[in-house]
Symmetry: C2
């Protein structure tokens, strides 16, 4: 039970150092993407922690913050538009906007063209909040990412954008 290479594999599916590039065509080098996935997940978790700590200091979740931010930068939006922007389910956006409304940061407004739809709109209090905390939030993110130079951050942005677009595309709508 110890002679086969498939036992106790250390993430790599194939350990042989012989045959380096261009594998048998199937088994097309699974090691590199697996490693990227692990590293990506850890990096995302580490940065997320900074972001969560920051927004939690103002009694917000990252989702709540994201909604305030998008409303601040783009003005009133239909719930469905926000939903697609922040990637939650329809039930989720209802719940989130309820919470923000209970805190007094957003209001619902009827849509004149479509009586099913509702706009979420920042209240003066919500506008004041996001305007006040956004700059420090941006600095928190900048510091969390400061392990890379600005040049490297731009490279990373390019890579992550292309990776994400491809992944999203192959995931159906």
């Amino acid at each position: 039970m110890n002679s086969r290479s498939s036992d106790h594999a250390t993430v790599r599916t194939d350990t042989k150092p012989t045959r380096r590039k261009s594998a048998t065509s199937a088994d097309d080098d699974l090691e590199v993407p697996l490693k990227l996935w692990v590293v990506l997940a850890r990096a995302y978790a580490a940065v997320s922690r900074h972001v969560e700590t920051d927004v939690a200091a103002h009694d917000l979740t990252p989702m709540e913050f994201g909604i305030l931010e998008v409303l601040y930068h783009r003005g009133p939006m239909l719930l469905g538009e926000i939903q697609r922007k922040v990637l939650v389910t329809s039930g989720g956006i209802t719940y989130l906007v309820d919470r923000l409304a209970a805190k007094g940061f957003v209001e619902r407004q009827e849509c004149p063209n479509d009586r099913r739809a509702r706009y979420a709109v920042l209240t003066p209090s919500g506008t004041a909040l996001i305007k006040r905390i956004f700059p420090a939030h941006a600095r928190t993110i900048a510091q969390a990412l400061s392990g890379l130079s600005t040049r490297e951050q731009s490279e990373a942005t390019d890579l992550m954008r292309r990776m994400g677009l491809a992944a999203a595309a192959s995931s159906a709508k």
Copy 2:
């Protein structure tokens, strides 16, 4: 209400095209890290979706899969060790191992040196499961990341690793 540049800012904190490099020293180019964070979060979400769909097909959550995988690759581990590896709280690891135990994939075993501690150990059924589904899982990830060439994936791994390590380090212990 439309003449000041702080109104309706489009993510960038400063819009002036004059003065390009080396900002006033404070406000040290927040645009690049903000963009990276947005793109990173989207990319992570898109890839996560593939991963979740894949593991859900075997009635597992990503966390459950992660535990099975780490136990498979490293052998029996104390719950606290797994906890640190997969990044959950102590209550979370209890809950997760309970679920995996209820499904018959892992068992708890006493630790001879420390009677507070418990090992989680794969059952034969758990071993068979992870051995069976891991290869296809790896291929799913490879395909989700295939928007980048192998070379670019390696670059991305390097960048994400350094970024993640720095973010984790500046996040207290």
